[in-house]
């Protein structure tokens, strides 16, 4: 920086100071935005969770942890929390397993690979609300194609979205359908990143088929697997649109069997105007997501060396 003094004398400011001013000018709008639209509202959610408030009343008395106690003694919240875990624990393994199988099959297909990849990816770009209504109509007990198929192969008809023990899995199937193609694309990229020399070396040592998959593919695909699992869990923990639309007339499904944490928040806040308990539930959700994100950072900070 030999011409620092020259610039300083001409502008009255050092080059570094001028560049810093530019940086502040560039960051001003986005920073103000992030503070006003994200950080302060997040603090406000915490504030509301500690107060009693119904949005119309000007009074907002401090109630300590009363909202959290109320939420934690609400059977519907627990139902929503358990359901949300159930969605994640069935949906994530299902889409990882199906996604990996399809990706491995696609790698063996030399022709039409691009076509199939695009076909599987279609649901991921399909508008979610419209797709949810299509699936609701597919699950129609009397007129849907699924029960016709069941009938054709001699199985008894099912109520799907109208039965407390089936509705949650019926919705999970739709979400898996939606994210499957994304998963396939991520796995294909992960598989492509594994250097061929590993397969060659293992083949020289006599490994093949399952052993190759078990001892080369799976360990070297581990970062992709962890990313996919964490991403999937975050998606399922925030499930809302599909559930609201697929059980639209009976929100939360038969006996609350499809209720999720976010749907619970929506109903508490915007149908019952109980902002305090709703905010408390979002704080709990935030805590859960934070723990998962931090765990992910820990796993990823372990260096992955090929």
């Amino acid at each position: 920086m030999g011409n620092d003094t020259e610039a300083a004398s001409s502008a009255g400011l050092s080059l570094a100071a001028r560049r810093a001013l530019w940086a502040y000018a560039f960051l001003a709008a986005p920073l103000i935005f992030f503070v006003i639209i994200r950080l302060i509202p997040a603090a406000a959610a915490l504030f509301i969770s500690l107060h009693r408030w119904n949005i119309v009343s000007p009074q907002r008395p401090f109630v300590g942890l009363a909202n959290f106690r109320e939420v934690s003694s609400d059977a519907l919240f627990w139902k929503a929390a358990v359901n949300t875990l159930r969605y994640a624990l069935t949906g994530v393994p299902a889409q990882l397993l199906l996604g990996l199988s399809l990706a491995l099959l696609l790698r063996r297909a030399t022709r039409l690979r691009g076509f199939f990849r695009a076909l599987y990816f279609l649901p991921f770009v399909t508008p979610v609300v419209a797709a949810s209504w299509v699936w609701q109509w597919m699950y129609s007990p009397s007129f849907g194609p699924l029960n016709r198929l069941f009938d054709a192969v001699g199985l008894p008809p099912q109520a799907f979205l109208r039965r407390p023990d089936q509705a949650l899995y019926a919705i999970t199937a739709m979400v898996v359908w939606e994210y499957l193609g994304f998963q396939v694309v991520i796995f294909l990229a992960g598989l492509d990143a594994i250097p061929a020399v590993f397969y060659e070396a293992a083949a020289v040592d006599g490994a093949a088929g399952w052993r190759l998959f078990r001892h080369i593919t799976v360990p070297l695909l581990n970062p992709t697997l962890v990313f996919s699992a964490v991403y999937g869990v975050i998606v399922y923990l925030q499930l809302f649109t599909q559930v609201l639309n697929m059980t639209f007339g009976d929100q939360g499904g038969p006996l609350g069997s499809t209720m999720t944490v976010v749907l619970y928040v929506y109903i508490q806040a915007f149908q019952r105007f109980r902002m305090g308990p709703a905010a408390a539930a979002t704080v709990i959700l935030f805590g859960a997501l934070l723990v998962i994100t931090l765990l992910q950072l820990r796993v990823f900070s372990r260096a992955v060396e090929y």
Binding site: A16, R19, W22, A23, F26, L27, P30, L31, F33, F34, V35, I37, R38, L39, P41, A42, A45, I48, I55, L105, R108, A109, T110, L112, L119, F121, L122, P123, V125, T126, P127, V128, A130, W133, V134, W135, W137, R148, L180, G181, V185, I186, A189, D192, A196, Y199, E200, A203, T224, F227, Q238, F240, T241, F248, V262, A269, M275, L285, F286, T293
Partner: protein, 289 residues
């Protein structure tokens, strides 16, 4: 996506040949892929065949429409403000995408390429917002919108999407790849700081910009929970909110619900068919950093 490098030593039965093996198994591979593809595509077929059926025919047993009709589409377009909802979505997704892509790249560039006191702090502030889920913010946003008169306005629908922390991180990552020597050379040639960003840095990160644009647009086009809360009148509805509330009121008029769904889905599919390479490569680029 680059094809995997061909092994220099062609050893029979070894290396690439193991993964790319051809033989009788091939037919089974294609059979499985086609079966899976059929299942994935079926909901689209079911949507379209229902949309083309008459109001009584949807409750009959045959699968294909006996007398295909486009009357359902006309009825949806006539009875609802569907064209308005479509334009609302286009406007909202278009403006938020332009804003987010510009601001996210500028922020990413500044954090990656300029040195200034407080850079670490700025980074941490933005990083921390990445962990806050939208669901936690909708109640405060609603209170804020009520107080500021943003309820049922385009600004009210759009403001959460004007920048995204994810976009900032993505662009910062890619801006790191812009060589400092190039920026310094352009500085010596007399380019101002903003010119460095638009003329030097932006063209170099074009693939990332394309990917970010596509995903920001898709995300805002599909946004549901916040628009559902902030929109009050039918004329202001975005497509997802319009479809949801229309379908909720349509009862068992599934021919109309499927026609409305088709009208929402088909334009997106048309765009996907044209841009599918860029979209899928964008997933790889952004998803795996």
């Amino acid at each position: 996506m680059a094809a995997p490098a061909v092994s220099p030593v062609a050893r029979p039965g070894g290396g690439q040949a193991l993964i790319m093996r051809r033989g009788p198994g091939d037919a089974l591979v294609y059979l499985a892929l086609a079966g899976g593809g059929g299942l994935v595509a079926f909901p689209f077929v079911w949507m379209l065949v229902t949309a083309l059926k008459g109001p009584r025919e949807i409750f009959e047993l045959h699968f294909w429409p006996q007398a295909p009709t486009v009357a359902n589409f006309a009825q949806v377009l006539g009875a609802t403000q569907f064209p308005r909802w479509f334009l609302n979505s286009l406007l909202v997704a278009g403006i938020t995408t332009l804003s987010a892509v510009f601001l996210d790249s500028l922020t990413g560039y500044t954090l990656a390429k300029l040195r200034f006191p407080g850079r670490g702090l700025c980074f941490v502030v933005i990083l921390s917002t990445l962990m806050i889920p939208t669901e936690m913010l909708v109640i405060p946003w609603y209170a804020m919108s009520v107080r500021l008169g943003w309820i049922d306005t385009y600004w009210g629908i759009m403001f959460p999407g004007l920048t995204s922390a994810f976009g900032v991180f993505l662009m910062r990552q890619f801006m790191h790849g812009v060589p400092d020597e190039l920026l310094d050379a352009a500085r010596i040639d007399g380019l101002r700081e903003f010119g460095l960003f638009t003329a030097i840095a932006m063209p170099l990160v074009r693939p990332a910009l394309a990917a970010l644009s596509i995903f920001t647009f898709l995300g805002n086009w599909n946004a549901f929970i916040w628009p559902l809360i902030v929109i009050q009148t039918p004329a202001m509805r975005t497509l997802p909110v319009g479809i949801a509330l229309f379908s909720g009121e349509a009862g068992s008029a599934w021919h109309l619900i499927m026609a409305a769904s088709s009208l929402a889905v088909l334009p997106v599919l048309a765009v996907f068919v044209v841009l599918q390479r860029q979209i899928i490569e964008g997933v790889v680029l952004t998803g795996l950093r």
